[in-house]
């Protein structure tokens, strides 16, 4: 047995225990028993699971893009939560203390990320199978990614609704988080990198021109002009 094999074996065993153990955080999160988990642990889970999904997204281009997207995806989820949390909590303050608000928001984000992590192997396989620089394949990949995010989002929103027990508050939180999240995704692009250049981690200069909502407006303008 080489040391490298022992290291791989150790990590595989530890991962299996982490997934399987009834005391593991992931087990509790998936089964809706995360009420006792501290928010930092939930955020750590969100980071790990979203990194797996990010890597799957980046595997269309391959190379460094796998790493870039794996780093950017947790950044997207956690920084969106960080920026929007004050607004989320203010709206829920009459019902929940700040700690509970953070836990509820973290649980919803972590569950969304866990659902995306569960889809990651399939998404990675589809990304890897799509023909390079082909419009139809690219469109299909985007459809798969959008559907995955929608499925993950539905899981997260359902859990959030269970925690907040108020449809109006849940809807408001979702709108605020998505409003911020759309711009965050715009700022952190490229994700898939259609140009197949895995040499751009975060082209801020380029991304700071315009924003997500302006680009949508321009698309609509072109459509009807």
């Amino acid at each position: 047995m080489t040391p490298a094999w022992n290291v791989i074996k150790y990590f595989v065993m530890q991962s299996a225990i982490a997934v399987q153990s009834p005391h593991s955080a992931l087990f509790a999160l998936l089964r809706g028993r995360a009420a006792a988990l501290p928010a930092p642990l939930l955020l750590l889970l969100a980071a790990a699971c979203s990194a797996a999904f990010g890597a799957a997204v980046g595997s269309y281009t391959g190379g460094m893009q796998v790493f870039y997207a794996a780093v950017k995806m947790p950044l997207y989820f956690l920084s969106t939560l960080g920026i929007s949390f004050a607004a989320l909590h203010v709206l829920a303050a009459s019902r929940l203390p700040a700690g509970e608000s953070l836990r509820a928001a973290s649980e919803a984000v972590a569950l969304t990320a866990a659902a995306l992590g569960g889809l990651a192997p399939v998404v990675a396989f589809v990304s890897f199978s799509c023909r390079r620089q082909d419009q139809a394949s690219y469109a299909f990949l985007i459809l798969v990614l959008t559907s995955s995010v929608a499925i993950g989002g539905i899981a997260g929103v359902a859990r959030l609704h269970a925690r907040l027990a108020s449809p109006m508050l849940t809807a408001t939180w979702v709108v605020i988080y998505q409003f911020t999240g759309a711009q965050m995704a715009w700022l952190l692009k490229p994700w898939v990198s259609y140009t197949f250049k895995a040499d751009r981690f975060l082209p801020l200069k380029e991304n700071l021109h315009g924003n997500f909502y302006e680009s949508i407006f321009r698309v609509l303008q072109n459509l009807f002009s």
Binding site: Q20, P22, A114, G118, S129, C130, S137
Partner: protein, 246 residues
């Protein structure tokens, strides 16, 4: 009335004990008999987490052997190295598809309220692959017969698709039966029915794409072509043909 005895006929076993799976390589294949005849025992063992490691090894081995055999039959359309290639590729396709889809099954099944843990989930998934492989093995002689006697490529593609569809339907019925047993034994939700169907649709899609990635199976060619493309491109000539007729 005198009892009629059939000479040399050994009585069929009336029960299955999963301890027998530890007996050696051939004993592991006893899981196939259990899969066909003693589903309640399998369901009970999975629910109580009894011998799950042995079940996993046995189901994996059965899948590996049977799919390799059916793969070899696929390759017989182009005798020679293609028999070996296809025999190696089909187990990769079936087992690879299962492994890719396990995390999705575990995560979403848990979110939907299942009480199954990861080991039980893995056992269920490999039960599905073994069921598919068993049906493939059962149809292998028929597939071989048509391959060597009357097979044009188009006909064989339809035939193999039909066999795979039957195998998947059989696996779906088996999982549905095991699901009911688990539900009865544990009292909790094992796998929601609609989710099971949706997941099997996902498995079919991933499996089809995986098979496309490892093409060719029938025609002569390399082990893998190495070109990236989606399986729907296989339909492109047909669509182009329809459009040109218009």
């Amino acid at each position: 009335m005198a009892e009629i005895t059939v000479p040399f006929a050994s009585p069929a076993p009336q029960h299955f004990d999963s301890d027998v799976l530890r007996g050696g390589l051939l004993s592991r294949l006893a899981v196939v008999g259990a899969l066909l005849r003693f589903r309640s025992t399998i369901g009970s063992d999975i629910a109580r987490e009894r011998n799950l490691g042995d079940y996993f090894c046995s189901l994996f081995l059965a899948t590996l052997l049977f799919t390799a055999g059916y793969g070899a039959v696929l390759g017989m359309y182009q005798p020679g190295i293609q028999i070996l290639y296809a025999g190696l590729k089909l187990p990769v396709v079936v087992l690879g598809t299962a492994m890719l889809c396990i995390p999705t099954f575990y995560v979403f099944n848990s979110i939907l309220g299942s009480t199954l843990n990861f080991r039980q989930t893995v056992s269920l998934v490999f039960l599905m692959t073994a069921a598919v492989a068993t049906i493939l093995a059962a149809f292998a002689p028929i597939a071989w017969f048509f391959t060597v006697s009357a097979g044009t490529e188009g006909f064989l593609i339809v035939l193999h698709f039909a066999v795979f569809a039957i195998a998947l339907l059989y696996a779906e019925r088996l999982l549905a039966a095991i699901r009911e047993l688990l539900h009865a034994i544990t009292g909790g939700t094992s796998v929601p029915r609609t989710f099971l169907t949706l997941w099997l649709v996902l498995v079919s899609a991933v499996g089809t794409q995986m098979a496309w990635n490892f093409r060719p199976f029938l025609s002569e060619g390399p082990f893998v072509t190495g070109t990236r493309s989606l399986c729907v491109e296989a339909l492109r000539p047909a669509i182009d043909g329809v459009e040109s007729k218009r």
